[in-house]
Symmetry: C2
Subunit: 140 residues, 2 copies
Amino acid sequence: MQSNDVNSTAAGANYTEEPRAVKPEELKYNSDGLIPAVIQDARTGAVLMVGYMNRESLRRTIEGGKVCFWSRSRKVYWVKGESSGNFFEPVELYTDCDVDTLLIKVRVHGKGVACHTGRYSCFYNTIAGFGGQGSGERFD
Amino acid sequence: MQSNDVNSTAAGANYTEEPRAVKPEELKYNSDGLIPAVIQDARTGAVLMVGYMNRESLRRTIEGGKVCFWSRSRKVYWVKGESSGNFFEPVELYTDCDVDTLLIKVRVHGKGVACHTGRYSCFYNTIAGFGGQGSGERFD
């Protein structure tokens, strides 16, 4: 996440830092030792879910070839798809300008669905009152 | 984020709940009153950044037609692109099965770039040691 855009530069202007390969120990984990990971289908570009990782689950993800989260509710390592077979194979790993968020492009195995409801993506609910297109519709 | 996939159902099977329009007050904000928002370019599908919102910044986003975050570092509301002109117009708003994450598809205005470095997306850094393709390469 970027924290401000006061120093925004025009597209094509000099960038403030070069893209680099960030070491896992350089990432900014939160006070619980976690970093959010956005999971995107490498084939379609769809955002499938957001999970949380600690240093060890990131290591397992990279070494094991299957995305492994830290379950905040169950306090366990959790290889997504371990029981369903719908696991995520990491294809590309990125972090952002603040090195506090991961973006993982994945190949979805098994039935090709991400959500425990059987849906392709976890993001199937809309937000009530949002008319879209900048309509300014009130929601409360 | 889904917390487990023990109850995964086959694609096409009965879903455990219907998609619905979730009211902003039903969302699960964290202990700081925040919810992460994944920002995706509605046109290209690229993930541009992840920011945080509280109830009020979500209201401002919906009513104002420009994505408004809560800056955790500066403790202020922050309309992305307020100074640079590269603001995000929300086009579609989704939440996930756990109603604890937002996905906002946006139209990028101004110079069409999201990052304060002038880059299109904040996710321009790779993770060191990740060979991709499930290579299992060690990173430490």
